[in-house]
């Protein structure tokens, strides 16, 4: 049995043909530009990145908004593209769901029904097989159990035909009840992933708004917590963020994925770029722990590792460390002793919890190491820690 489950995550692609008029900068993934260079086309660029980094994954994840304004040609293009990526990554699973842009034609002909375009896709959307896909369309979700983990896919745009619910995500009481009942009957799994498009808890940083949070979002999170350890992956905000959900116990870890090729607007454009995330989930650890490696899209260059500093989402991030920061800092001090500088890798080998610090936890640890123990860190050019040692007072 493998000890790591790897997920290649492409969220909020907002693909559309160049022939469809759109404001400048709204579309970055064109679906009718077959001859574009890999340095100018995010999906082709990703194929090149996968080859150059020899990436292998267990699943390709797409938490919605494959298209912009429900363009049926783009829908088919992206769905086929995701299948191709699965093949290239040797991934056996595709975990996709609907985003508001996939079902919301906004101004399209009243005779077009975007949901039909989705339902006509082959292999059947979103599960890749008829049974589970039918269930998704009928009840707004499906659950699939693999040998090592279980995943739940929810359609938070289920009510988007109802114009009143256009702006926000929804998990209806009906769907929640069905999910709870099914999970209750299934044997418990240590590792569980939930994928849907909208955010289940408020995500209003950088003026990103309050109104579009999933109706019944907290109820959903509470229900998940009662059914094991969960990692939630969602899209929609185009602002990557990693945090614990609220709740009394076993709070799910919620990863708001960055947008693969959607437009980044307002204050967020100063902080975020377009991202491809590659997640490594540890299956053998007692806690939900993992790493997220991210590449940023640079037009003309392609997918690149990037130098990261707060408040941007780091190029390398962990999650799942639950050890208190003060305890962790004391342990690091203890390992370093009063001796000479040591490599960060050697310290994390002794104390693996350090690898799974979330970005803000990591910052807090750095502060604590400096203020309480006079320990300084050295970073490489991408901002990744490489060495630590006692601070010196020179100059």
């Amino acid at each position: 049995m493998s000890t790591t489950f790897r997920l290649a995550i492409l969220s909020d692609l907002h693909a559309a043909p160049k022939s469809v008029p759109a404001p400048y900068g709204e579309i970055k993934l064109f679906t009718d530009q077959e001859n574009t260079a890999a340095t100018e086309h995010p999906l082709k660029g990703l194929e090149r990145l996968i080859a150059s980094e020899s990436l292998r994954a267990d699943a390709v994840v797409c938490p919605g908004d494959m298209t912009n304004k429900a363009n049926p040609q783009a829908l088919e293009y992206v769905w086929n593209g995701l299948q191709r990526l699965c093949t290239q990554l040797h991934a056996k699973n595709i975990i996709a769901t609907v985003g508001n842009h996939d079902v919301d034609s906004r101004g399209h002909s009243p005779n077009s029904f975007p949901r039909e375009s989705l339902m006509r896709l082959q292999p059947p959307f979103p599960a890749g097989e008829s049974g589970l896909s039918d269930k998704y369309w009928a009840h707004g979700y499906y659950i699939k159990t693999l040998p090592d983990l279980r995943y739940l896919v929810i359609n938070t745009c289920w009510l988007h035909e109802s114009r009143d619910e256009l702006e926000r995500g929804v998990v209806t009481d009906y769907t929640l009840e069905r999910i709870a009942a099914e999970l209750d009957h299934l044997p418990k799994m240590k590792t569980n992933i939930a994928v849907f498009h909208h955010h289940p808890h408020p995500h209003s940083d950088l003026g990103l708004g309050f109104d579009d949070v999933i109706r019944n979002g907290q109820k959903l999170l509470d229900m998940l917590a009662t059914n094991g350890q969960w990692l939630v992956l969602h899209g929609h905000k185009h602002h990557p963020k990693l945090e614990y959900a609220q709740g009394q116990f076993r709070q799910p870890i919620v990863f708001a994925c960055g947008s693969f090729s959607g437009r980044i607007e307002g204050d967020n454009s100063l902080i975020s770029k377009n991202y491809f995330h590659f997640m490594e989930l540890e299956l053998n650890n007692t806690k939900m722990q993992g790493l997220i490696h991210s590449w940023a899209w640079i037009p003309g260059i392609g997918w690149q590792k990037y130098s990261s500093s707060e408040p941007s989402f780091p190029s390398e991030a962990g999650f799942g460390c639950t050890v208190d920061i003060t305890t962790l800092a004391a342990a690091v001090k203890n390992e370093l002793g009063s001796g000479t500088p040591k490599s960060w890798d050697s310290i994390t080998t002794i104390n693996p919890e350090l690898k799974f610090l979330m970005p803000k936890q990591f910052s807090a640890l750095i502060k604590e190491l400096s203020s309480e123990h006079k320990i300084g860190l050295v970073y490489d050019s991408l901002g990744k820690p490489v060495q630590l040692g006692l601070e010196i007072l020179n100059g």
């Binding site: 260079a37 500088p341 300084g376 060495q387 601070e391 010196i392 020179n394």
Partner: protein
């Protein structure tokens, strides 16, 4: 076209600039130039874009040498008694430096800050080599340094560099040097907002702005040697792409040949035309070639040597694709190929029925001047087998390439009228020897030419690249070069004979030489190269310098040509063979003519491609 080849990116894709030392070593094809560069002396590596300067410099880094697995690697490593420090041009002297302080600083302040960036960049590169040597203690020029020793060394270096760092380690110093670069930029921006007088005081009080980079390098490498118990060990500073550096930095580096710490070698890469480098070298007090330093021109004067390199590169590229085939087998013989000596002994290549008599007879029929040429020299094509060997060597072998080109371009219609016609793509230049010649031994060009051809064999599962495919790739390569030439800024006042840009200039030269070659009476030694005479104005000379630095025109050896050219006047040049192929010229240097003469007057209509393109 082969699917897996991104043609547009081909030339730049093979730029060693973007490769790590281990990757450079992995793809390295041995050339004599590395031997010449690596000696225990200062050296100047001179070559146009793509000629392999970066690769050679990068190969002298310990990490690259350690990773090199070639046949000669072991013996080569034994000869290297220094640690190479590669100094890329990207940060230190790229255009962003010129914008320091938003262009509002006075020249003196700007120079101080640019020098600080340059020095910091050099020091960062030195620290890079130091950390790599410690991290790879057991490999070539690796050093075992206890943590305590490294800590003491770091404190010593920080003191010399007048630098603060979070912890006492070499990695920490590298990080702080990156921080210093930001500090200098911020300082420059600040300087743009205050008075020059006030800013002078601020700059005067910052000690790190006033350190001499060579002095500091000497100092910190000495500290490293001491820590590693390698007292007096040598180092080499490998400066790439100096043509993009500010002139006063180039001057400083070239002047340093004479005054540099003896434990430090300077190895400088530069394009052929550099007025500053030339003036420094030629000045009375400047360094003397062969005495203070060695100049290594990166173009092959010897075709046999170039051929050896090209064949090695062919082997490397084909082996990577799982092919076991010689270039000659895959690409065939060249139409210009001087017949191999062994073959001459066995069989007369000019005998009746052989390849060359076919060409000669065809040309004799439609070209009266060739017929006259043969008659005057008493060459009877029907009795050619009886011709003396010396005569064959002196006349036929020299005449053959010219005859091949004239025969190709002179067209006889059904009524027996002969006229010249311009044919765009041409299988005339197919064949291993021609492809090699067209590459000029320039690795990036050769890889660009061969990669799609090899991909063609792989994709189509064949062992021969058709002449049409070769011709297409030559055309593509020439078009890419012309596109590059088009991007070169045009100096003001370029109005000599309607020339507006470098691509127009080389086209005019090419078409005029072609016109001479085809439409004048047959000559065994036609005009194929040109002298930059006094009739050429400075703006055109500037354009030609850019052309020389980018490989569009080449220096002709045996004339006033030198490795580093300061003044182009009097220099003999030829079009690169890639452009020679585009304009239908033989791949040889030929006789020289004055450039001003070439540029006079319009070109005969028969030579202009607009009037007579004929696709093959």
């Amino acid at each position: 076209m082969a699917e897996d080849v991104d043609i547009a990116a081909l030339f730049e894709a093979f730029n060693a600039k973007y490769l790590e030392p281990v990757q450079v070593a992995d793809g390295y094809i041995y050339s004599q130039h590395l031997e010449e560069l690596s000696g225990p002396y200062h050296a100047v590596l001179v070559g146009p874009r793509g000629s392999g300067k970066t690769t050679l410099l990068k190969m002298l880094q310990p990490a690259a040498l350690a990773a090199w697995k070639g046949r000669r690697a072991d013996s080569f490593r034994k000869k290297i008694d220094y640690s190479g420090v590669f100094i890329a041009s990207d940060i230190s002297w790229s255009r962003q430096l010129s914008s320091l302080g938003y262009g509002k600083l006075n020249a003196e302040h700007h120079k101080i800050l640019v020098l600080a960036c340059f020095t910091t960049h050099v020091l960062h590169a030195v620290l890079e080599t130091m950390t790599a040597r410690i991290a790879n203690a057991t490999t070539f020029r690796g050093v075992e340094l206890t943590s305590e020793k490294e800590q003491a060394l770091a404190i010593g270096i920080l003191d010399v560099l007048k630098l603060k760092a979070p912890i006492a380690s070499l990695l920490s110093i590298k990080q702080s040097l990156r921080g210093r670069l930001s500090e200098v930029r911020q300082l420059a921006n600040r300087g743009s907002l205050i008075s020059a007088e006030e800013f002078s005081k601020i700059l005067a009080d910052l000690p790190f702005l006033h350190i001499d980079f060579l002095d500091i390098c000497s100092n910190i490498t000495g500290l490293f040697n001491d820590a590693a118990d390698q007292h007096g060990a040598r180092w080499a500073l490998l400066f790439d792409e100096l043509e993009t550096a500010p002139e006063w930095i180039v001057e400083q580096l070239f002047s340093a040949f004479r005054v540099c710490d003896p434990k430090i070698y300077l190895k400088l890469a530069i394009s052929p035309v550099s007025t500053v480098a030339f003036q420094t070298i030629m000045s009375a007090a400047g360094p003397a070639e062969g005495h203070d330093h060695k100049q290594i021109p990166l173009w092959y004067t010897d075709r046999i040597e170039a051929k050896g390199f090209c064949e090695s590169l062919w082997r490397s590229l084909t082996t990577k694709k799982g092919l076991n085939i010689t270039a000659r087998e895959a690409l065939g013989a060249s139409a210009f190929e001087p017949t191999a000596r062994g073959q001459v002994k066995k069989q007369n290549p000019y005998a009746v029925g052989q390849y060359w008599t076919g060409i000669f007879k065809s040309l004799q029929k439609k070209d009266k001047s060739f017929s006259t040429f043969l008659r005057i020299r008493h060459v009877d094509l029907d009795r050619i087998a009886e011709t003396q060997q010396t005569q064959k060597d002196s006349i036929l072998r020299k005449a053959a390439p010219i005859a091949a080109v004239r025969n190709f371009f002179l067209h006889e219609d059904q009524e027996g009228n002969v006229s010249s016609r311009f044919r765009k793509t041409s299988s005339l230049y197919a064949g291993a020897e021609s492809i090699f010649a067209i590459s000029e031994g320039n690795p990036r060009w050769l890889i660009g030419l061969l990669t799609p051809m090899i991909a063609y064999m792989v994709n189509n599962k064949v062992r021969r690249v058709p002449e049409s495919v070769q011709a297409e790739e030559i055309d593509n390569a020439a078009d890419r070069l012309v596109a590059l030439l088009r991007t070169i800024p045009v100096p003001l006042n370029v109005h000599q004979s309607d020339v507006q840009a470098l691509d127009v200039l080389v086209q005019k030269i090419g078409l005029r030489l072609h016109d001479d070659l085809i439409n004048r009476p047959f000559a065994i030694d036609p005009r194929l190269c040109f002298v930059v005479d006094r009739g050429i104005n400075n703006s055109l000379i500037e354009l030609l310098s850019s052309g020389l630095n980018r490989g569009a025109v080449m220096l002709v050896q045996g004339t006033a040509a030198r490795s580093v050219v300061g003044d182009m006047t009097g220099v003999t040049l030829r079009l690169s063979y890639l452009l020679a192929a585009k304009y239908g010229l033989p791949l040889r240097k030929g006789k020289a003519t004055n450039l001003s003469h070439l540029l006079q007057g319009p070109i005969a209509p028969s030579s202009t491609p607009q009037l007579g393109f004929e696709e093959i």
